[in-house]
């Protein structure tokens, strides 16, 4: 009797939790659904009242207008190059640094590691003028390297990979050493494959961060042909987009978010694991 009451109680509890989760999910999705709905409405109607979103007419013009902007495919390409470049760079550098901090013995290692971690506390805005001047002096603005290179110094990436390498038992290294494997071979062939979950986590966060980045591309990529999708989309907004071009603005938001949404669809398993892992750590 007591056991069945316990099971019933647990069932009700689970249902309540499920209901709460659904409620939170709906609340979270409302702004996105609202954005999507507004993106199919003519701008002139939305200027009078956004309540018009609940009834026809609907239109695809806001989306066709995006595609008729001459730079949009170039901006997508630029964003893809930058995001992939940043992601690949961070994965390579963070893995190497993480391995070094986790396995190599050298003088000042802990101090250097702390210095790297201090990078987490320095916001981009604090160094952006100095960074801009460096790239100006190098005459590198409006190039892919200028947009990609600053993104490669990922303190978070180094920290994550260091912790991950540290968690791998050293016995594995020692076994490989007994087989005469070089240090690089141990790193490349033995340990690196074991860090794939961490790499996936880091890769996803890096890609999303690079894709959504706005401030640095805004001041480094100042020629329209070098705009990323975030900067390009912003440039096409009219001065009073929120009132007179709201539908177009919402269509832009959906369009710019689509690639990220697709990435999420393919990698959601890793993203969920990454977020859960970060929370546990």
């Amino acid at each position: 009797m007591a056991a069945s009451e316990h099971i019933v109680g647990r069932g009700i509890g689970n249902k309540l939790i499920l209901l709460s989760v659904i409620l939170v999910a709906v609340i979270w999705m409302l702004p996105i659904a609202w954005t999507l709905l507004l993106s199919f409405k003519p701008n002139s109607e939305l200027m009078i009242s956004t309540a018009s979103a609940f009834h026809p007419p609907y239109t695809l013009k806001n989306y066709t207008d995006i595609f008729q902007s001459s730079g949009v495919f170039r901006w997508l390409w630029n964003s893809a190059v930058v995001s992939i470049g940043v992601t690949a760079g961070i994965l390579i550098l963070s893995s190497l640094a993480g391995y070094g901090f986790a396995r190599a013995e050298f003088k000042g290692r802990d101090i250097i590691f702390v210095l790297v971690l201090l990078g987490l506390a320095v916001p981009e805005q604090a160094v952006i003028i100095a960074r801009h001047q460096i790239f100006s002096d190098l005459k590198m603005h409006n190039t892919y390297p200028a947009i990609i290179l600053p993104g490669l110094s990922s303190a978070f990436g180094v920290f994550l990979m260091t912790q991950y390498f540290k968690a791998i038992p050293k016995d594995i290294d020692e076994a490989a050493m007994l087989d005469n494997a070089s240090r690089f071979k141990i790193f490349w062939k033995v340990l690196l494959p074991l860090t794939v979950p961490a790499q996936a986590t880091l890769g996803i966060f890096s890609f999303l961060g690079a894709w959504n980045d706005y401030l640095w591309p805004l001041i480094s990529a100042t020629k329209p042909e070098m705009f990323t999708i975030t900067v390009g989309m912003a440039s096409t907004q009219t001065n009073f987009a929120q009132s007179e071009g709201l539908g177009f603005l919402m269509a832009q938001a959906i369009f710019a978010g689509l690639p990220v949404f697709i990435v999420y669809l393919f990698f959601q398993k890793y993203i969920v694991r990454a977020v859960a892992g970060a929370a546990i750590n």
Partner: protein, 439 residues
């Protein structure tokens, strides 16, 4: 037949080649601008009369220029409004555009650092008659006695009025004109009457998420009392009874529920169109938008009027103003590039009437006086603004930042977050600290 086809093909090839050669001979200049992108609607429009709105008209103007000029091709580089972070970054990296659009309030920040080319001589050679510039626009582009920009428009602060609600409130005279306040007592009396008769607030105001309403309205109220709060361009002075009175007036409007609250720009624009209040204090740029609304069924149907900011203090009818202008960035330009830049500016000057269709005021006296301009909807009602529009003195630096600080402090007093005295003192302190560090 085959010969004819061959001849036609040859002709096409020659024509295409000639066109390409002609295009190659043209000097290309980059023009950075905001106003958005609207290639979908106006990408190939060269007949400017068929374009509407800021984006449409500037796009069509550039298309027309590129189609007509035999020497110059303009390459528009569209940036997000207002674009000054990007422009400064471009200058620092040594790749500025040849021409850029610039608010007149910002020119002194760039001219004082030697980043802009003075244009007096170029204008004289090109036939741009500076004496035809309105006083407001000429003052706006003149810094230290030199002209640093080609003015494009003057935009000011005014009252958009819902005449249908005004009728309901009994605030329309026999001539069908809105009855407007002539002093602060009348303002409160009429606003209360409006609220009582219509059940709606007299004012619609943009009080959330931006500072423009506060600064522009407060400045206008100071101008109306002839307060010279920037007698010293390096130091603001809000320690006057007039400033205190003006701010108290705004605070009273808020506490007496005579205005909408918590609306951002988009919400307030919609709110007026939806008939949720009688007066929307905003800018010239909405005139055409609301005029179009008044031609449709709805709260504004046949019931839209616009008027200059009513003078509620004895003093002067002056009102806050700024303007868009075009500057030539200092850089190593060839003679051909400079000539092309001036050619484009002259084209914009010649077509200033077209730009005035946006709702902004023209910068040429000859256009303001023209029957063509006066024939545009409501323009006769606001032509005085071209004379009364007042910008901050040109020697005042960091005007955008100053307006931001001023707006924050005025807003905090209006909403009751700070006392009037506290807000005025804080505004003064913060602005003077900013100016003390301004180079």
């Amino acid at each position: 037949m085959r010969k004819l086809t061959t001849a036609l093909l040859a002709g096409l090839v020659v024509t295409a080649g000639a066109s390409a050669a002609l295009a190659a001979d043209k000097t290309e200049i980059s023009v950075a601008r905001f106003f958005g992108a609207c290639e979908a609607d106006y990408g190939s429009v060269t007949d400017v009369t068929k374009a509407n709105g800021e984006c449409g008209i500037i796009t069509a103007l550039i298309n027309k220029f590129n189609a007509e000029s035999t020497t110059t091709t303009v390459k528009p580089e569209i940036v997000e409004w207002p674009g000054y972070d990007q422009l400064t970054a471009r200058i620092r990296s040594g790749e500025p555009p040849v021409i850029s659009v610039m608010h007149e309030a910002v020119i002194s920040d760039y001219s004082s650092r030697g980043l802009l080319e003075p244009l007096d001589e170029d204008f004289a050679k090109a036939g741009i008659d500076v004496n035809d510039m309105t006083d407001a626009s000429r003052q706006g582009v003149t810094k230290d006695g030199k002209i640093y920009a080609m003015p494009f428009d003057t935009h000011t602060w005014l009252w958009h009025i819902n005449m249908n609600l005004f009728k309901e409130a009994g605030l329309v005279d026999e001539a069908g004109k809105p009855i407007l306040p002539k002093n602060t007592d009348e303002l409160f009396a009429q606003a209360e009457q409006f609220k009582e008769k219509t059940g709606k607030p007299y004012f619609i105001s943009t009080l959330a998420n931006e500072t423009a309403f506060y600064t522009r309205t407060f400045d206008t109220l100071l101008y109306q009392q002839n307060v010279d709060f920037f007698a010293d361009p390096n130091k603001v002075n809000f320690s006057s009874p007039e400033a205190k009175g003006a701010l108290q007036l705004l605070a009273d409007i808020f506490t007496k529920d005579l205005t909408t609250k918590n609306q951002d720009y988009a919400a307030s624009v919609s709110s007026f169109a939806a008939g949720e209040g009688g007066v929307f204090i905003c800018g010239t740029w909405l005139i055409d938008t609301y005029d179009q609304e008044s031609k449709k069924d709805g709260p504004l149907a046949n019931g839209y009027a616009v008027t200059a900011f009513p003078q509620i203090y004895p003093g002067s009818p002056r009102v806050w103003a700024d303007g868009h202008s075009w500057v030539l960035l200092k850089q190593d330009l060839s003679d051909a590039q400079r000539a092309s830049a001036i050619e484009f500016m002259k084209f914009l000057w010649d077509n200033n009437y077209e730009w005035a269709r946006t709702g902004h005021l023209p910068v040429r006296k000859s256009i303001i006086d023209s029957a063509e301009f006066k024939g545009l909807p409501h323009r006769d009602d606001i032509a005085s603004l071209a004379v009364n529009g007042t910008a901050l003195p040109s020697a005042v630096k960091r005007q955008f930042s100053i307006q931001e600080i001023e707006g924050e402090e005025v807003g905090s007093a209006m909403r009751g977050d700070k006392s009037v005295d506290e807000a005025l003192t804080d505004a003064e302190t913060r602005i003077n600290e900013l100016l003390a560090n301004a180079k």
